[in-house]
Amino acid sequence: MADMEKTGIRIEGLRKRYGEGDTAVDALKGVDMQVAPGEVVGLIGPSGSGKSTLLKCLGAVIEPSAGRMTLGQDLIYNDRWEIADLRALRRDKIGFVFQAPYLIPFLDVTDNVALLPMLAGESNAIARQRARELLEALDVAHRARAMPAQLSGGEQQRVAIARALVNRPPVILADEPTAPLDSERALAVIRILNQMARQFDTAIIVVTHDEKIIPTFKRIYHIRDGRTHEEAGAAMPLE
């Protein structure tokens, strides 16, 4: 891959103000952050510190107030959006994993994953082929024809990760992906995210409160009162 593409995520001086006048809330007051491709970083901080706000800005679902954001080689925000089609940006460049898996209940596991490449214009056969490869890699291929409601919580979360990965986005944003899982499953999810980051050269940001997984990160961004502080993590071995 070209060096230009090795940028991963870069955020500089990002600000977000909700509302106006007396009731305005400055949720982000100048956030700096960089995540390289293939790297998994933790984003931690107390409630109300701005973690979700940062993720929403990065995910291009809310508009920041100021600052710069770069994804891969694309400058996407520089005090205003630099990209016209934010929907296509989300579809092609960003994978989302949430606390709850939010699978589409009326699609089976394969099509839940295959939907993204289909939305991007891929043929059904190729989209499903790519979905199956990922389900294989995430060890849920045996449930490929099941409906989401028939899966365990951990299986659902792995399907959600497959969905986040299927369009090979340079970035994955995970908001409390392990919250509903026990410690063994939580560690399994983190192991998978690390593995996928390496395998697909993806930059992954994991927002978490989860004490079980915080020690696994090599690098942690601590966010407090709208500002980030970089810290070294314990980098506990996962294997």
């Binding site: 929403k56 679902v61 989302f96 699609l107 289909m118 991007a120």
Partner: protein
């Protein structure tokens, strides 16, 4: 690309089928209402067809004999028969009344026709059993819908008639089955008073000093107890003649009102059943509104139940158009289930209606288009709600 709407319908098929069946029964009622109207129009046309007439000669300036009362002297037909272009002419009387069948009575249109010569206008065109009227008294040919069978005895006023023939689809414009009896009997039945009334009338007439001469009194009494009137003269014209050209001299020289087949149809459909058809039209409008409200409500509820999924779909880059299409297809899918159920239901229950229900393919097609349009309109509310969903909701706090 897979059909999101189709997958959702398959996933929640129970909900869809139940709602679709409910909607379908409503659509069935709607199609039946249209069928009732078509049945009324068809009854009117059949009434005109089966009378075998090309022209209806009625009392001057009336819309008779079906839409208004009309009476003519019963010797008028001879003069008409001698007019140019007239092939046959026959008297006819119509009297809607209750006739006794055993313990019960049925509503029927008693038609007085000239018997004897088959093919004269006014007679039942074809029989399904038995024979035509051949004697001049106390025989009847009844429509099957009246419930009479061959050999049954019908009581009309004070006289009994034996059913000698049965016919089919001979109904009045109101849908009542016809019973054909000889003209003379029908004239008497129209005129017949009870015995007490006759006695009183005789006494009054006898008391009138103007009729004191015995011969005069007898003649007056005789004229009071017979009925020289009929309701219309039905005319068949010679082959190849223009009905309007035959009708015009009758109007001018006989000073009577004459209607052609087309004019008669206009009277029956445009005037006689106009109020009923407006009534039915009103029903159709209300049913359409109710159906639309049901579809809108169901689709809206189903969509609100999927807000989370819609937020996720938007977050992962689904176009608004795709989401709107999904909701609209579901609404149309619901309409399709409803239409199929409705068509089957209407076809099933139509024969059980007392009056003729005519389900026309054209009406079904129009109904189908209306259902699809209504469903599309009804999905607008749900689509608006779905498009307002913020993809940020999928990420949560």
């Amino acid at each position: 690309m897979i059909s999101l709407a189709g997958r959702d319908i398959l996933h929640a098929w129970g909900k869809f089928v139940f709602t679709g069946v409910g909607l379908g029964l409503l659509i069935g009622v709607t199609l039946t209402m249209a069928g009732v109207y078509r049945g009324m129009v068809d009854d009117a046309k059949v009434l005109l067809d089966n009378s075998g007439a090309d022209l209806w000669v009625v009392q001057q300036d009336t819309l008779g004999p079906y839409a208004e009362a009309s009476s003519l002297y019963d010797d008028t037909w001879r003069g008409i028969l001698s007019m140019a272009g007239v092939a046959r002419a026959a008297n006819v009387t119509y009297l809607t009344m209750q006739v006794r069948r055993g313990e019960r009575d049925v509503r029927a249109m008693v038609v007085g026709v000239v018997g004897g010569e088959p093919g004269l206008p006014g007679q039942p065109g074809f029989l399904v059993a038995g024979r035509h009227l051949s004697r001049s008294h106390y025989e009847a040919v009844a429509d099957l819908a009246s419930g009479f069978r061959l050999g049954d005895r019908i009581q009309i006023r004070r006289h009994h008639y034996t059913v000698v023939g049965l016919t089919r689809r001979m109904v009045s414009s109101g849908g009542d089955p016809m019973i054909f009896i000889p003209l003379k009997d029908a004239q008497a039945a129209q005129f017949l008073k009870d015995n007490d009334a006759i006695v009183r009338q005789r006494a009054r007439t006898a008391a009138n000093p103007a009729f004191s001469t015995p011969n005069v009194l007898d003649a007056v009494l005789a004229s009071q107890s017979s009925n020289p009137y009929v309701n219309a003269v039905l005319v068949q014209i010679e082959a190849g003649r223009d009905p309007e050209q035959v009708a015009e001299p009758i109007r001018r020289w006989k000073r009577l009102t004459v209607y052609t087949r087309a004019q008669m149809e206009e009277i029956l459909i445009g005037k006689l059943i106009a109020t009923s058809s407006k009534q039915i039209g009103m029903f159709l409008v209300i049913l359409a509104i109710v159906s639309a409200a049901i579809v809108a409500f169901i689709i809206y509820t189903l969509t609100l139940g999927k807000i989370r999924e819609i937020a996720v779909l938007k977050l992962i880059g689904t176009r608004n158009r795709t989401i709107a299409g999904m909701i609209m297809q579901q609404a149309v899918g619901l309409g399709l289930i409803g239409f199929v159920v409705g068509k089957i239901a209407a076809t099933f229950w139509a024969p059980f209606f007392p009056k003729y229900v005519l389900l026309e393919t054209g009406d079904a097609l129009r109904g189908f288009v209306a259902v699809v349009v209504i469903c599309i309109l009804a999905s607008v509310l749900a689509i608006r709600a779905a498009l307002k969903v913020d993809p940020a909701e999928a990420i949560g706090g």
